[in-house]
């Protein structure tokens, strides 16, 4: 397995150490051949279907429904009925019981969900196992705790549920985004119609099984699948609130569509986060943070640290260390427990990444990709870093949503702030320095919803998340995350 080569004084030293494949078994999860829409606690036969695939192999996994406007309206009507007939009047402590139950079932079935998430979405199993699933369960636990304490969260404001929430979620963290949406909505006494992303419907459909197992009253959670047409039907429908996570382009369209309708709206959109590295940082840990910031989940992260600002005095050291570290990234089978970077989620996304990377090369940035063998089947893109990037390049301005990092430099903290804020987005930012006072000075000036210091891409249900500017509005997580799902009377 390991090649031995002759070195120096005749000693044999290994030229490498091949980890043999360590795939997580697919046996644990059963995928049906065909799924309908989950409405009123029942599976409804869909009128139209499409095939969902595994992006790592392009293997077809199942036929799922493409919801028509009528099917969506039926789901919304069912949610309305469930809202009026009991759920909204249920004491908070009773709603909490259901949410706690869902959280526990998610924990119990976490391996099954993790395997399915990696299979349908392409993300490495170590991430779905160690990040997506624990956080999804944590969200249900957290909001279960608020369900009977809403009066204390908003004293003297008499919080009431909004009604039916229409929720549209993205493909980068399918189950986790479902948890972010459903947990606070239910805790506040709303019912929901949720549409998972077109390319990643399977964990949401498996979640319907959890809903049944938890004996949630029929119609409280309804799940319809399909592409943007189904999403548009939700936005158009008789819902009281829209919660959308996805691209800025679609977010703007939704905002135009709901203008004047009185529907409440929260949007969590794109980002082009600045990760700012000062010369007094803990260098090796900062490099880990840069890698985690951009290559985590193949860079399919709205808050990914895709613009790296390095203080000029340490630019060469950081880039050298970064390239060295990139060589150890293991790209491949998402189900292999040793995989660090998985498959790109879809062909369309791969094409967008390719287009922007080509633009970067054309504009004059210097590209580096570590040597790695990409599988022939499926959608793959090697971890990429661009140096010599100017602020005006497309790769420094547009969201790539892939494993592509642009390195820029700065000289002083004030310059770092100015350049970092010079973007239409404002979702997150990272600061790397050992100097506490500088962290506070920078954080005060960053126009971003989340600012991480000496870490990146760290989430907690108790911490509100959301954007400035074109990254959206409204907050999810924490006490703030309850507000969009409540009406107040004072």
């Amino acid at each position: 397995m390991t090649e031995l080569e002759q070195k120096g004084q005749g000693a044999l030293v290994p030229s490498g150490w091949d980890y043999v494949p360590a795939p997580e078994s697919r046996e644990i999860v059963r995928i049906d051949e065909r799924y309908g829409h989950f409405v009123g606690g029942e599976w409804l036969e869909p009128r139209e279907t499409y095939t969902t695939i595994a992006p790592a192999s392009e293997e077809p996994l199942a036929e799922v429904g493409q919801a028509t406007p009528e099917e969506v309206q039926n789901a919304i009507a069912t949610a309305r009925e469930a809202f009026d007939n009991g759920w909204s009047a249920l004491p908070g402590s009773e709603r909490a019981k259901y949410l706690f139950r869902i959280a526990r079932i998610l924990q119990e079935r976490s391996r099954e969900f993790a395997v399915l998430e990696s299979l349908n979405g392409g993300k490495p199993i170590k991430e779905s196992r160690d990040v997506d699933l624990p956080l999804a369960a944590a969200h249900f636990f957290y909001y279960a705790g608020w369900a009977d304490k809403l009066e204390y969260a908003f004293p003297n404001r008499r919080p009431k549920p909004v009604g039916v929430a229409g929720q549209i979620i993205p493909w980068n963290f399918p189950l986790l985004m479902l948890a972010w949406k459903i947990a606070p909505a239910l805790a506040c006494g709303n019912t929901v119609v949720l549409k998972p992303a077109e390319t990643t419907p399977l964990t949401a459909l498996l979640f319907c099984d959890v809903v049944r197992q938890a004996e949630l009253p029929a119609g409280v959670v309804n799940i319809v699948t399909g592409d943007g047409r189904a999403g548009a039907a939700i936005v158009d429908g008789d819902v009281d609130k829209i919660a959308f996570t996805g691209s800025t382009e679609v977010g703007k369209a939704i905002q135009r569509q709901v203008a004047g309708t009185g529907k409440k709206l929260t949007l969590e959109l794109g980002g082009k986060a600045a990760n700012i590295v000062f010369d007094d940082c803990a260098l090796d840990q900062a490099v880990e943070g840069i890698v985690n910031g951009i290559y985590f989940n193949q860079g399919h992260v709205c808050c990914a640290g895709s613009r790296l600002f390095v203080q000029e005095s340490i630019h060469d050291d950081v880039v050298e260390k970064l390239k060295r570290r990139m060589k150890t990234l293991r790209v491949g089978d998402p189900l292999d427990k040793n995989t660090d970077v998985g498959a790109i989620n879809s062909r369309a996304q791969l094409e967008r990444i390719r287009e922007l990377v080509a633009a970067g090369e054309e504009e004059g940035a210097e590209i580096y990709q570590p040597p790695c063998r990409l599988p022939e089947q499926g959608y793959w893109f090697a971890p990429t870093v661009f140096t010599n990037v100017a602020q005006s390049y497309r790769i420094a301005q547009e969201e790539i949503f892939g494993p592509v990092l642009s390195v820029l430099t700065f000289r002083t903290p004030a310059e770092a702030v100015e350049k970092a804020n010079n973007t239409p987005y404002g979702l997150s930012a990272g600061i790397w320095t050992e100097k506490g006072s500088r962290i506070l000075w920078m954080a005060e000036r960053m126009r971003a919803g989340v600012v991480w210091a000496n870490t990146f891409n760290r989430f907690d249900p108790a911490s509100p998340f959301g954007g400035y500017k074109e990254s959206g509005f409204g907050r999810e997580g924490g006490r703030h995350g309850l507000e969009p799902y409540l009406e107040f009377q004072s």
Partner: protein
């Protein structure tokens, strides 16, 4: 601190083209990285490769007041042939003993390829006058020790007398002559990863061939994060000077599974070039039998009773 190399093996802390960077360590992120590397799933041939390598890297150690020539002779024999029933199992790298037992170890190990390592410099505390430390080093080398495991003076380090620590290492290194010098930092007493990094750089600048975590005499011995911290310092020295310094975690590594985790961390931090007993050692006494047991399990698919592995 020294402005010029004191010894051929030493190096100058570079002032050009940039300021010397001791740097710092972020504890939370360091521990997170160590934890994530420890989750690698190493199976089958990859695991056998690691287990076999772990044996070749083991400094089989006995450091007790009760050590006798009989005990050292038995352990030396074990180091040469860890598994008498299996020809394919390699020898350990070295046997590590107290100075008085060096002659016994040398007598048994001459010509076997297994090195003799001796602790020295008022092990384990290092709280003695320098003359005695230098003399002790000269004596163990004269008795035939191939390697010297010295301790740094933590009292001097923690009170900020870095020059004293540096100077002692330089003198002991000189006393070593041809013998290899491993410098024990006793990380459990240093308190922070920043200190571990500083002490590692100090030891390497003074000419250490290896840096080593612990004496094994305290409860907080080698851990994955502290070893990673030292590997990163070694990597920085390599990138700055081209010099390859060895690493030896010691104390608390008792199971084959841990040894594999340490080797994964080594491989993914310093690369394949460091996967050799010339540059990495594991200081351990009880680890060996667990590794032997795991190798037999990997090959036969079954665990055998501990009674089938010799206790020495």
């Amino acid at each position: 601190m020294a402005q010029s190399p004191v010894l051929a093996r030493g190096f100058e802390l570079p002032l050009e083209p940039r300021l010397p960077r001791i740097g710092s360590v972020d504890a939370v992120a360091l521990e997170a990285r160590a934890e994530s590397l420890a989750k690698r799933s190493i199976k089958k041939e990859a695991k056998l490769f690691a287990l076999e390598l772990a044996i070749r890297m083991t400094d089989l150690t006995t450091l007790e007041g009760a050590d006798t020539p009989g005990k050292v002779h038995a352990l030396a024999t074990k180091a040469v042939r860890p598994d008498p029933s299996d020809e394919s199992i390699p020898s350990c790298a070295a046997l590590c003993v107290y100075p008085n037992l060096v002659p016994t170890a040398v007598a048994r190990l001459r010509g076997t390829g297994v090195k003799v390592a001796s602790v020295a410099t008022a092990f384990p505390s290092g709280q003695s006058p320098l003359d005695g430390k230098v003399r002790e080093t000269e004596e163990v080398v004269a008795m035939g020790a191939d390697e010297v495991d010295m301790v740094i003076d933590r009292g001097a380090f923690l009170s900020g007398r870095y020059a004293k620590v540096y100077d002692e290492i330089v003198q002991v290194k000189r006393a070593c002559g041809e013998a290899h010098l491993k410098v024990i930092l006793e990380v459990a007493e240093l308190g922070t990863y920043d200190n571990v990094r500083r002490a590692s750089l100090l030891a390497m600048a003074a000419g250490a061939d290896f840096v080593k975590t612990s004496t094994g005499k305290l409860s907080g011995a080698a851990t994955l994060p502290v070893t990673l911290c030292m590997l990163e310092a070694i990597r920085d020295v390599y990138e700055e000077t081209g010099r390859m310094v060895g690493m030896k975690p010691a104390g608390g590594i008792r199971q084959a599974k841990q040894a594999v985790q340490y080797l994964v961390q080594l491989y993914e931090t310093l690369g394949a070039e460091w996967l050799t007993p010339d540059l990495y050692r594991i200081g351990a006494s009880t680890l060996l039998n667990d590794v032997l047991m795991q190798i037999r399990k990997e090959r036969t698919g079954r665990y055998q009773s501990p009674d089938y592995f010799t206790v020495d």
